[in-house]
Symmetry: C2
Subunit: 341 residues, 2 copies
């Protein structure tokens, strides 16, 4: 067995869009697991928009990655050696591995996975954090009712594609928004709901035409121009689960004025809107129900799911930069090592 | 009995702050009630910030007052003549009278009042729409819990004074914000919670010092500088019932940039805030519970309430303009006619 570990460190903080220079890959000696510890081998590393926030200094809902530390990331991994109670060699786990091939873990944040549902990478997507984000945010905050109109941006992405499909299952009229004709075609043909291309001109008027009865739920995961097009179309008592703001993640300053905060507050008041931010762990207790219901929908073929897999840990920086530009097509995964058999 | 009616019409729409020229008082012939109708005599007319919105053209949660129409307003009135089923001479009612001494009504929007709780004007304040606004918004959306910090602006006003006192009864630490030393003294000495004067410098740093454990509930009824001071102090999972935005009601354009909408959305996301707009009638079904609980608190002396009463319908325009400037001290009422005995 190898005695080396490859790791990707954060070596500087980006200003605006990250660059490859913000990362460095190093090779280090593999640590051995001590008492109560285990050695994990990464198989699939998940790349997600929240990682951009961790690259900034300053307070967010989680502390930043420090300079010189291994980049944060969640992965499907295999237990290769275990002194940890409850885990044995060959177990497949979900673990906060970071951007590296191996990690020594005391079990914190680790969760054993049922190895049956394949591919194992689904545990990072539709059966993992993005899927549960979509499920809990839409059902708890969006509260979809049959006949309502639901708008979701990044509609071909890991969260948006699940939001749209669950909304559809709940009887909503769903309008997705995505970037480019390929993604829109995928949403319409594979996911089965409407889709508008935000790269084409006149998004606001096309969205208005697509929502003749207004918008009851806007699942916010991009902000920016999509939010601006949605705001005037919101119906009384509309719900806006605020899940992500990818359009702003690379921003270094606020956009020019006027200051539209009074306008948004006025809309909240006169239309009695609910804006509610959340992260998936706010609904951690709903995980068993989420896994049961989503697995059933997948088995029955009622949910479709697309992955965008790139081989090789060394490509993670480039692929994260692309993800923040919307260049991925489906849930972005880095295959770090071979699947277990 | 008189055969004349005095009425105040909206004769032009204000740009920014209303002026006396936007109104005109006229004397007209008194109409007689037809079949199924009754004649009402106004006793107390309520002046409220929402009236500024009705003076604008354009869509809000209620249609505007048309040019040449009697200004909209709610009043405590006496039935002086009745052909309406269920009403008889001498009944005391709550009615959408408008700004006039007499009105013919078919009963729409009219509600019989228990004449026992005196003064009758309380039905326009603590036992009426402002009180119910405070009660329903705070309890349903704010969801106060013992030990939490509640901030309420316009803390000596009709809504704010009730919000603060109910928050106090529910075990919250309450920080009121009001304009001027007299109002702040009243809040501290009479209402029994802390108060900061927003006319003094450095509101943001004084508010921060007054809220060492952050802010869990911000009852929004002013916006503007108070909102700006509150935003950075909000705790995770803070609730913001959005009830009014008086600081913007006279605004003719948005403030200069930058556009802080992305900043507010970022706060909503990372702190998992809930902003929810409401108007009192969204909780109409809670009126019996509201009346029972508030009446009991008043009887037991656990709630204090201050009115600011001006005699004479002719003074309503001037007093509404003053109300929008924060010149009233307590719930603003116009005494249009004598109380019943």
């Amino acid at each position: 067995m190898t005695t080396k570990n490859r790791q990707i460190l954060l070596v500087s903080r980006p200003t605006g869009e990250p660059t490859p220079d913000n990362f460095r890959m190093i090779e280090s000696e593999l640590s051995r697991p001590g008492k109560g510890q285990m050695l994990l081998r990464s198989i699939y590393l998940s790349l997600d928009p929240y990682m951009r926030g961790r690259m900034n200094a300053g307070k967010s809902y989680a502390p930043p990655v420090e300079i010189g530390q291994v980049m944060e990331g969640r992965a499907v991994a295999e237990v290769v050696e275990s002194n940890a109670p409850g885990y044995q060699q060959g177990d497949v786990v979900f673990a906060p591995m970071g951007w590296q091939e191996f990690a020594v873990s005391d079990g914190q944040g680790v969760r054993k996975l049922d190895p049956a549902p394949r591919p194992l990478s689904y545990a990072l997507g539709i059966l993992g954090m993005p899927g549960m984000t979509a499920y809990t945010g839409l059902l708890n905050i969006g509260q979809p009712k049959p006949g309502e109109t639901l708008v979701v941006a990044a509609a071909s992405g890991a969260v948006g594609s699940v939001v749209g499909q669950i909304g559809h299952l709940k009887g909503c009229r769903v309008i997705g928004i995505a970037g480019g004709p390929d993604k829109c075609l995928f949403v319409k043909d594979e996911l089965g709901f409407e889709c508008l291309d935000h790269r084409e001109p006149n998004l606001a008027s096309r969205l208005e035409a697509a929502c003749p009865k207004g918008i009851d739920i806007y699942f916010e995961n991009v902000s920016g121009a999509v939010f601006d097009a949605v705001l005037p179309l919101l119906n009384n008592f509309a719900r806006i689960p605020v899940c992500g703001l990818i359009a702003h993640y690379n921003a270094t300053e606020l956009p020019p004025g006027p200051d539209r905060v009074p306008l948004v507050m006025h809309q909240i008041l006169v239309k009695r809107l609910t804006f509610r931010g959340f992260i998936v762990w706010d609904f951690a207790s709903q995980m068993p129900q989420f896994l049961a219901e989503m697995s059933a929908w997948l088995r029955e073929g009622r949910l479709k799911y697309k992955e965008d897999i790139t081989d090789g840990l060394e490509n993670a920086p480039r692929e994260l930069i692309g993800l923040l530009r919307g260049e991925n097509f489906g849930k972005k995964i880095i295959r770090v090592g071979e699947e277990v058999h």
